[in-house]
Symmetry: D2
Subunit: 435 residues, 4 copies
C-alpha cells in the first residue's frame, strides 16, 4: 500500500486524560510522533509559567498536539467522511497540520518571542520544510506535501475547510486547549459539549459551519473561553512570573552584550542574542536547558541576574497593583521610577507594567488589524448566519475588547528597610494608593 | 499568637485537580511551602519515566506533597478533632510530616538510588535536620520539632497514630498517589471512595482503624492499588525507559572513572559518582539538570553514552520479551550474551533483565523482612479485626506476591543488518522463542 | 438535651449523586424526613413532564429537597458558623425551611396550579401549620416555630439572611436544582463551582453577599441558569406534554361539571374541581394517583378525554411551529381556529399557544411587579456592589426578558385524511407558513 | 428503501446521562421506541424498591433499555462491522433484541414474580409475539422476525454471538445496568472502562471474546459487579422494603380469596390472583397502578393490609438482624414465631427471613443448575483462554457463592408496650442475641 494510505497493522492507542483515547491508524502519523522534533514538545510546557499559579498545569505541548490531532481525526473520520462537500483527499493533510501546528514553539514561547523577536510560526514552517526528521516523513507522501502542511498552518491553503479545522474562532486547537488546560489546572470553567459541536460541524463551500441546533453548545464554548482567559491565562500571578522571566532574558542579553564574564556561559543563547538563530540551535532549546541556566545563574556575581533567577526558581514573585494608564497614574509611575532609582532598585527590572487584553468573540470586520473569521451557523432552511446575530449572549460580548493593566514590583525588597528606609516607605505609600 | 498556632490572616487556597481545593490556614505550612527545598519538588516528576508511556503523567512531586498534606488535614481537622483518643497537640506535626515526607526525592529517584546507592529517606532526614530553609521554619516551633518530623517519616515516632497517617497500608500518601496518578495518566483505575474512608477513620490506642461500614470502600482501594501497580507503575514500556536511564548513569560513571574526556563535564555528578554527596550538591539536582546533561551527551564521542542519551531524549526505547528465570532460559540468556558480544553490541548495556514485584496487601507477619502493618477494621461491637479476615476479596489476594521479569534489548540495532547479519538473525530467532 | 439541639447518636448519611453525601445530625431534621408529608415528595417528579423529553429526568422532589437542605447545612455549618454577623440561633430554622420549602408541591404542579388556580406556596404553609406530622415535629421546638418556618419560605421573616439562603437570585434552591436537573437530564450545562460560591458567601446586615473573588463563579452560575432555562425547562417538547396535560385537566373538569358519566370516577379530583380542596385531599394527590386516572380514562367514551390521555400515557405529543403574536399571525390563528372547527377537531383542546419567558438576572427595580433582590458582591475594601455593575457578562444580559411563543397542534390528526381532506390540507398549508 | 434498511431522514439523538448520547438512525428502532408497550417501561423503575434506600435510584427500565440498545449499537457498528467473523445481517436483530430484552418486566418484578409465579421472560416473549404494536413493527421486517427476537432473548438463537451480546457474563445488559445504577444511586462502585472493553470485543465462531489486553478492564468490571451486588442490589434496607411489598401482595391475595370486602377493589389484580393473567391485563400494570392501590388500601379495615401499605408508602420499614440457618438459630426462630403469635403480631407477615446470594463470576460447569458461559480472552497468539485461568483476582473469587440471610421484623411494633409488654420484651431480648 502506498505510504499515504498505509495503515498500522494494529491501531495504536494513547491513553489521554482529556479525550480518553487518542487513536492512530495511519503510519504517517505514527512516524511523525516518533520524530525527535515532535518528541521535543514533551520538554515544553503548554502553559509556560502557569504552573507557578496552578500547580497542576505542568502538562506539555506534546499532550496538546496529540489532542488537536485527535479532535480533527474525529471530525474528518466520524463527521465529514462521505459528505459531498468534503474532499476525502484532504484528510491526511488535515491530520498532519493538526498534529504539527505547534511544532515551532520554544520554551516559554511568549516571553522568548517578545524579548528576542522570534516567531514560533516561522519556526514551525522552517522545521517542516528544513532538514529534519519531520520533513523526511512528510516528503514521503509527496514532494509538495510539507509545503501544503505549512500553508494550512499559515492559513494560506486554498481549501478553507482545512484551514478552519485548525485555525478559526472555533477550531480543534482551541477546543483542545480550553478543555485540557481546565483539566490540568482543576478549574471548573472550560467545560462545553464538544461531542455535540463536533457532530454538528458541516463542511461548506469555503468554511466549516455548525448546525443551528448546536448554538447553545457554542455559546457555552465562547463563555468557557472567556472565563479561561481571565481566570487562567491572564492570571496576575502567572503574569508576575512571566515578568520576571522576561527580565532575566533581557538582563542576560544585556550582560552578554556588555561582555560580562558569565561563570556559566550562555552558549545555548548566543545565536538568539544575536537574533541569527538557526533551526538546529532552536531545536536544542527546551525548558530543561533554560532551567539549567537559570539555576546556575543564581550564583552569578551580577546581583540583578542572580536575584531574578532566584526569584524564578524559588517562586519569589513580584506583587502587583492595578494600574490604569491615566495621566495621573502615569505621572505617579514616573515618580515611582525616580524613587526606585533613589532606593537603588533598578526600575528597568523591578517596576514593570504588564497588560493583557482579549476579545472573546468577534464577527468579521474586514481590513482591521486582526481579521477574525466569524462562527457561522447553518440554519434549518439551509441559510448561513453569523453567530452573534442569533445568540443574544454572544452578541452581548461580541467585539468588546477587555484590557487589564497591572504594575509589578518586588514587595519584599521594599519591605526590607535595611537601607533607604524613607524612600522605600514613600514608594510603598505611593503604591498603596493604587489599591 | 505563638508561631505553632499562628494562622494566616486569610486562608490560602490552592486549586487542585484531584482534591479540588487544598486549604492552608497555618502560617507554618505556608512558610514550608515557600522554602526553596520544597519548591524544588516542582522540578521532579512524581512518576519518573512514566510520562514516556502515559503522556499525561507529567505531574511533579510538589503536586503530590500538597495532596498528602490536604488528606491528613482533612483527617485531623474534620474527623479526629475532638475525639478523646486523639491528641490535638499532634496536629501540626502530622501536617508537617505529611507535607515533607517526600522532600528527599531526587530526579528519577528509583534509578538514581539503584545505581548510586542513595536513599531518599536519608536525604529527607538530612534536609529537615540540616542547614536549610525548611529547618529554619520548623525550628521556630521548637528546637526538637525538626527531629520529631523526621521520626514520623522514619516510622520511629512513638505515637503510631501519627505514623499510620503517613505510612501504613492505607495512608494519606497512597491515597493521594493512587488517585493523582490515575487522574494524570487518564486510566480508569484508581477510583475509590476516599471521602468515605476518611470519614470512617478512627484513632485507636496505637493505630488508625477504619469502621466496618467502610470495608467495601477499602476493598475498592486495595483493588485500585493492585490495578495501578500492574497497569501503570510496572508498565513494561516505562521500565524500558528506566532501563535506559539506569544504563546512562552506569556508563557516565564508568567513563568518568576511566578518565574519559567529556565534552560536557558531569560537574553536577562528581560527588554522586564518588558516593560522597552532600545535601548542598543533592539539592542542586533536579530533572532539568539531568535532562540538560543527557541532551548534551548526545554529542559525546563515546558511542554507548551518546546512543543511550539519544534513546532517552527521543524516546527510542528497548523492546522486551517475557523472561522466566528457569534454567533453560538462563542458559539461553548466556547464549544471547555471548552472541551480543559477537555482534559488537555490549550486553552490559543492551541486554537487560528487569523484574517487578508487588504484594497487593499483607496481614502482619512479624519478623519478616518487610513488616507491614495490617489494615484493621473497627467492628460495631468495638472489636478490632484484621481486614483479610472480614473481606473475601482481600483474603483472596492477601500475602500473594506477584513478580514479573522481562528481558530488554534494542530491536532496532538487531534489525539493522548493515553488519554481522547472521549473528543478528540468530539473536532475533533466539529472542522470539520467548514470545 | 433539649429537642432543638438533640443530635442523633450516630450521624445519618444519604448517598446523593449530586452532592455525594447528605449529612444529618439533628434529630429534628431526621424526624421531618420521616414524616409522611415529606415522604410523599418521593412520588412527585421534580421536573414534571420533562422526563418525556429527557428520559433521565425522573427524579423526585424528595431528592431536591434533601439537596437544598444539604447546601444550607454546608453554608451555616462550614461557612457562617462563628462569624459575628450570623446569629447561630437561626441555624435550625434555616435547615428546616430549606428542607420543607417545596413541601406543598403537588403532582405536575405547574399545570395543576394554572388550571385549578392552586398555589403550592399556600399549601406548603397549610401543611406546616396544619394537623400534620410535620407540624407535630416542628412544634416540639417551640409553639411559634412552625410559623417562623412558613415566614422564611414566604420571605416575610425579619432576618433577611435566612430568607436569602432559601430565596434569592443565588439561593440554595436554585443551586441545587440547576446542578441536579443537569445531572439527571445529562446535559452539559448546569456546571458551576458551587464549592467556591459557598465558601465565599458572607452574612451581612440584611442579606447574604459573595466575596468579589467569587464573581467569575457567579457569572458561570448565571450562565448555567440561562442555558438550563432555555435548553431544559422551556424545551418545546416538554411544553407539548404540558399542553396535553393541561387540556386533560380542563376536559375532565368540564365533563364533570356537565355531569358526564365517568367509567372511572374522578373521586380524587372532586374537591379540586370545585376549588375547595383541603389539605387532607391535597396530600392524597401524587403522580401515581394522577397517572392511574389518566390510564383508566384512556377507555372513557368521551373521545377528547380518551385521546388526550392516550397521548400523554403513550407519548404521542403535539407538534409545534413558531408563533409571534403579530396582528398578521393572530389573524391566521383565528382562521386556523375556524378551520379546525370545520375539520371536526376542537380547537379549544387541539390548537394551543404556549409562551415561555425568562429574565436571566435582574438588578433591583423597586415597585415592579416581580421584585427581585440583586446579587451583591463584597469588594476587598468592604464596599458592597451589585453584580451587574462589576460583571460585563452579567450586565450584558441583565434585565433582558426573553419570551418564546409556540403554537401546538396534533399533526397526526391532520395528516390523517380519512375525512375532511381538503380542510386538513389547508390547515397544514397555513401552519407551514409559520415555519 | 426496504423497511429493514430504512434510515431516518435525520438521526435522532437521546441525551443520556450515562452514555452521553443514544443514537438512532434505523426507522425500525425509532418505531419500536414509539410503541405503547415500550413507553410503558417509563412507568416501571429499574431498581424496584431501591429508591427507598438510595433516593437517587428513581430511574426507569425505559432508561436502561435504551442504554443496552446503545451499547450493542456501538459494538456492532463501531467494532464488529466489516469483520469477517461477523454476519452483518444480524445487526438489526441484535439491536431489536437489545432494546426489547426487558419488555416483559412488570412493576416491582422481583416481588410480583415470587408471589404470583410470573415470569417476565415469558411475558417479553408473549408481548413480542402477541397482538401488540411491538409485534406489528417487527413483523414488517419479516414474518419470522418477531420469533427470532424472542429466540435471542431466550438464548436459543443459533448464532451465539448475537446471544452473547445480550446475555452472557459480560453483556450489554450488565454493562449498562452496573454503570447506570451506580450513576443514579451515586455510589462510587460501578466504574470500569467500558469503552476499552467494547473496543476489544471480537466475534468468534460461537461467541464473543475479549482481547487479552482488555483483561484488566474486565477484572475491574467483575469487581464492580461484585460491589454493586452487595452494596446496592442486596442492600438490607432495600430488602426490607421488598419484604413488606411481598407481604402486601400475599395479604391482598389472601383477603381476596377469603372474600374480604375491599373498599377499593383490586380489579387490576383479579387475573393475577387467579394466575390466569393475559397480556392485555399485564400491560395495564405499572407502578402508578400499584401505588394507587397501596395508597388506597391504607384505609382498608384489615389491619395487616392497612399497616403494611402505610409502611410501604411512608417508608416505615422493618428492622433486621443477621440470621444464620444453624440449628440453634432455627430453634430460636421457632420460639420467636410462637412469641409473636402470643404478642398478637402475625409472624406470617411480620417475621421474615430473607436470603440473598450471588456468584460473582463462574467458569463453565456443564450440567449444573445454572449454566453460565465463561468469559473468554483472545490471546495474542490467537488462542482462547478462560478468564479465571489468566486473572489471579478473578480466579480468587471465581465460583464462590456468597449468601446472606437476614431476619426482618417491625421494631416499632415491639417497642410499643401498650400491650403484652413482657412478651415483647422477651422477643426483643431474643432478637438482640443475634446482633
Amino acid at each position: 500500500m502506498a505510504y499515504p494510505n498505509e495503515k498500522l497493522s494494529e491501531e495504536k492507542v494513547f491513553k489521554d486524560p482529556v479525550h480518553r483515547y487518542i487513536h492512530v491508524r495511519d503510519k504517517v502519523i505514527w512516524d511523525l510522533i516518533g520524530t525527535k522534533e515532535f518528541q521535543r514538545l514533551r520538554r515544553i510546557r503548554q502553559l509556560g509559567t502557569t504552573f507557578l499559579t496552578f500547580h497542576g498545569a505542568e502538562h506539555s505541548r506534546f499532550n496538546h498536539s496529540l489532542g488537536v490531532y485527535e479532535i480533527v481525526r474525529r471530525i474528518v473520520d466520524d463527521v465529514f467522511q462521505g459528505r459531498p462537500e468534503w474532499d476525502e483527499d484532504e484528510r491526511l493533510l488535515s491530520l498532519c497540520a493538526a498534529l504539527l501546528h505547534d511544532l515551532g514553539h520554544g520554551p516559554f514561547s511568549h516571553s522568548f518571542e517578545k524579548v528576542f523577536h522570534l516567531d514560533h510560526e516561522a519556526f514551525t514552517q522552517a522545521i517542516i520544510l528544513g532538514n529534519t526528521e519531520i520533513n523526511r516523513v512528510l516528503s514521503q507522501i509527496g514532494s509538495d506535501f510539507p509545503k501544503k502542511v505549512t500553508e494550512v498552518i499559515a492559513k494560506t491553503y486554498p481549501n478553507k475547510q482545512v484551514v478552519s479545522l485548525i485555525s478559526s474562532q472555533i477550531d480543534a486547537d482551541r477546543m483542545d486547549y480550553l478543555q485540557r488546560d481546565a483539566f490540568y489546572t482543576g478549574v471548573s470553567y472550560g467545560h462545553f459539549d464538544m461531542e455535540r459541536i463536533l457532530r454538528l460541524m458541516r463542511p461548506r463551500e469555503d468554511q466549516v459551519v455548525i448546525k443551528y441546533s448546536g448554538m447553545h453548545a457554542v455559546e457555552d464554548y465562547i463563555m468557557s473561553r472567556y472565563q479561561m482567559y481571565w481566570q487562567v491565562y491572564f492570571h496576575p500571578v502567572t503574569r508576575s512570573a512571566e515578568v520576571i522571566l522576561t527580565k532575566i532574558l533581557h538582563r542576560a542579553k544585556a550582560l552578554y552584550e556588555d561582555g560580562y564574564p558569565f561563570k556559566c556561559k550562555p552558549k545555548h543563547f548566543y545565536s538568539i542574542f544575536s537574533e541569527k538563530v538557526t533551526i538546529e540551535d532552536y531545536l536544542k532549546l527546551d525548558e530543561s536547558i533554560i532551567l539549567f541556566y537559570f539555576q546556575e545563574w543564581q550564583d552569578e556575581d551580577d546581583p540583578i541576574l542572580s536575584d531574578l533567577c532566584k526569584r524564578f526558581i524559588n517562586r519569589i514573585l513580584f506583587k502587583y497593583v492595578e494600574f490604569h494608564p491615566t495621566n495621573e497614574q502615569l505621572m505617579r509611575l514616573m515618580e515611582l521610577t525616580s524613587l526606585f532609582k533613589k532606593a537603588g532598585i533598578d526600575p528597568d527590572y523591578y517596576l514593570v507594567v504588564d497588560s493583557s487584553s482579549d476579545l472573546p468573540y468577534d464577527f468579521y470586520r474586514p481590513g482591521e488589524e486582526e481579521e477574525r473569521l466569524p462562527i457561522h451557523l447553518l440554519m434549518q432552511n439551509g441559510e448561513i448566519r453569523e453567530l452573534s446575530r442569533e445568540s443574544e449572549i454572544v452578541d452581548a460580548i461580541s467585539g468588546k475588547r477587555r484590557t487589564d493593566h497591572k504594575l509589578y514590583f518586588p514587595l519584599d525588597l521594599l519591605n526590607d528597610f535595611s537601607s533607604k528606609r524613607n524612600i522605600k516607605k514613600k514608594i510603598i505609600s505611593l503604591l498603596q494608593l493604587h489599591k
